[in-house]
């Protein structure tokens, strides 16, 4: 009886975290559209919020699996840079067909994911340090390969991936929606998601229960490597260039949107929808600050504050709920006596 009640309370809080981000996105959107008439145009939202939000949105999907399983991946930005520069180089410099370039880029992302997973699962090195190392390696290789040069003027058919639209919905956002659907299904309706939460809340227990922890972890890192490559390629297509700075800081924006979306860094649970909304919220915030003429540097400060205050508030709420539950229980016991 009590257990089901506790379960109800905790599931309420998990849902509350998701509602919180939905509420925040809604409030921010309303506030911005009151402040500026341009925000009331659908076209503006599609082009200036949803199109740029796609890149961090894609990364945040993979990051949800990683954080839910109590892992960490700091190398997403440099994987994005490496796979996009190699992929673009393949058709830009060596005249391979474009689809082959994309495939090569994606394969590099997958390979890096596998590389991370090998060190994390086979050698039991902390994900934090492994992915710092691959961050450095990936960024270095990108610099070596691109020779510190910017590449401009990519072929139109490739650029359409980034700048095109279907029925005025931006192509990158459509891709993100598709990936969102896939991730949502994997996270909520297959073992991949359930086991991520199981591994995140207690890895030893998950192992004892017969979950092949290493195999699942490997999948999560490969998945985020794949998504990073896609994000990098979409960025290149949209920006019409390959730059050595591609993807710098993506890892933190992705982690921030996942945390904003209510996934705990302590592992054990997560929300794909929340992460997706978190990425959109970051972009709304970016636009809002530009609109108000506030320096975009302050965007970082605000995101930091939202993360800390949001989590502290959630923790405080949780504490109060536990206290009142305990009080009720004591009263019940006393009245029974």
């Amino acid at each position: 009886m009590n257990q089901s009640k506790n379960g109800k309370i905790s599931s309420f809080f998990r849902r509350a975290a998701q509602l919180r981000i939905l509420f925040l996105v809604f409030v921010l959107f309303i506030a911005l559209s009151i402040l500026s008439p341009t925000f009331r145009k659908l076209e503006f939202i599609l082009e200036n919020v949803l199109r740029p939000a796609s890149i961090i949105g894609i990364l945040s999907l993979g990051m949800t699996f990683i954080l839910a399983s109590k892992g960490l991946d700091l190398s997403v930005g440099s994987i994005a840079a490496l796979s996009s520069s190699v992929g673009v180089m393949a058709f830009y410099k060596y005249d391979y067909p474009i689809w082959l370039g994309i495939v090569i880029g994606v394969l590099i992302g997958i390979l890096f994911g596998l590389f991370n997973a090998f060190f994390i699962t086979k050698l039991r090195v902390a994900p934090f340090i492994v992915t710092i190392a691959t961050l450095s390696i990936g960024r270095g290789l990108t610099l070596v390969l691109s020779g510190n040069l910017f590449t401009y003027g990519l072929p139109d058919s490739f650029r359409d991936i980034g700048r095109g639209s279907f029925f005025s919905i931006p192509t990158p956002f459509l891709i993100t929606l598709l990936l969102y659907g896939v991730s949502y299904y994997l996270f909520n309706h297959t073992r991949l998601g359930k086991y991520a939460c199981a591994i995140g809340s207690n890895e030893t227990a998950a192992r004892v229960a017969g979950i092949q922890v290493d195999r699942y972890k490997t999948f999560y890192y490969i998945f985020i490597g794949f998504l990073s490559a896609l994000a990098g390629l979409i960025f290149s297509a949209r920006a019409n260039m390959v730059a050595i700075t591609t993807g710098m800081g993506y890892e933190l924006d992705a982690i921030a949107s996942v945390i904003l979306g209510g996934t705990s860094m302590a592992g054990g649970g997560g929300s794909i929808t929340g992460s997706f909304l978190g990425a959109i919220m970051l972009m709304l915030l970016d636009n809002g600050l530009q609109l108000l003429g506030i320096n975009t540097f302050l965007q970082k400060t605000i995101v930091g504050m939202i993360i800390i205050i949001g989590l502290a508030y959630a923790a405080w709420q949780d504490e109060q709920a536990r206290k009142s539950a305990r009080k009720k229980m004591t009263e019940k016991v006393l009245s029974n006596q």
Binding site: I129, I132, S136, G140
Partner: protein, 316 residues
């Protein structure tokens, strides 16, 4: 008898494996370039790696006590930018801006510790948040200006006393102080106890929450020191100051042999880790390998170091 000796050797190698790696690495680099072992290059090497050693030392307090501090790089940036910026643009005296940034740095450290202990949130997230807050505010202050280092800071970073660079003296003193704190004071005992088993530490009377706040403040203090040395050495700062140290600091500490999982680490490890990273960069520099490959090499070095560490732990 013999097996005892072998065991002792194993224990020594286990504790000091990274020193051996450093020696091998230096031997290898001296084969690659005959300039490597020249006095001027070795002095250079020492000066270049002081700042990383200090900041790695700072983060070691947090790592040993079972936490992580991502905001340290932004604290370094903040101190560097405020010390130079306030003096140059806002008409403050140098000691005023140094004192002000010291108070702010300790404040950020205390805030980190307080939020983590009061609300029981993961250190990674809290310090990610404070990193963002601090960096955003500081960049908003400095914009694209590039202030130069005031006199005392310059003295710390690039002058010599009796032929020994001040930066090296300060670093040695800081590392020595850290060593004494870790090995000779109750604070050090708390750090190891908390890092190996927080619940047991709490039960045996360690004031875990207070101690965590102190370790974050110590970490911030070392960040402050690193910032002064860094600005003094390179004479000017811009908005990106300290951003390279965010990941480099924990990486150097871990390469030196400090555990990311808490409970294990020494002051010396921070120095060794910083030197290993420094020797790779310096050696490759002398052999004219491009900076780009150096980044790859540093990443590979981290992987090799942690792999050795992991294999060793498994054997134990």
């Amino acid at each position: 008898m013999k097996s005892k000796k072998i065991n002792k050797f194993r224990e020594f190698a286990g504790n000091n494996g990274m020193i051996l790696v450093l020696i091998v690495l230096m031997g290898f680099m001296s084969l690659l370039s005959d300039k490597f072992l020249s006095t001027s290059n070795l002095v250079n090497l020492a000066i270049q790696n002081c700042t990383v050693a200090v900041v790695a030392m700072g983060i070691s307090f947090v790592l040993i006590s079972g936490g992580i501090d991502l905001s340290l790089g932004s604290i370094v940036g903040m101190v560097a930018i405020l010390t130079c910026g306030l003096t140059e643009y806002n008409g403050w005296q140098e000691w005023q801006s140094i004192l002000f940034s010291l108070i702010l740095a300790l404040g950020v450290g205390a805030l980190n510790g307080w939020i983590i202990t009061r609300f029981k949130i993961e250190p990674v997230v809290v310090t990610l948040g404070t990193w963002y807050i601090v960096q955003g505010l500081v960049q908003n202050y400095i914009l694209s200006r590039v202030p130069t280092a005031p006199p005392f800071t310059s003295f710390l970073g690039s002058e010599s006393v009796f032929g020994i660079p001040v930066i090296v003296i300060v670093t040695v003193l800081l590392i020595l102080a850290a060593h004494l704190i870790l090995k000779r004071t109750v604070l050090g005992q708390w750090a190891y106890a908390m890092g190996s088993n927080p619940a047991a530490a709490r039960l045996s009377g360690v004031p875990v929450n207070k101690a965590r706040i102190i370790f974050f403040m110590l970490s911030a203090f070392y960040g402050f020191a690193c910032a002064l040395l860094m600005t003094g050495r390179i004479h000017a700062v811009d908005a990106s100051a300290g951003s390279g140290l965010v990941f480099l600091a924990p990486a150097a500490a871990v390469v030196g042999g400090t555990s990311l999982f808490g409970g294990r680490g020494r002051a010396l490890n921070a120095v060794i880790g910083a030197l290993i990273m420094g020797v790779i960069a310096n050696g490759l520099n002398l052999t004219r390998v491009s900076f780009f490959w150096q980044q790859v090499a540093v990443g590979a070095a981290i992987l090799i170091a942690v792999t050795i560490d992991a294999l060793q732990r498994r054997r134990d």
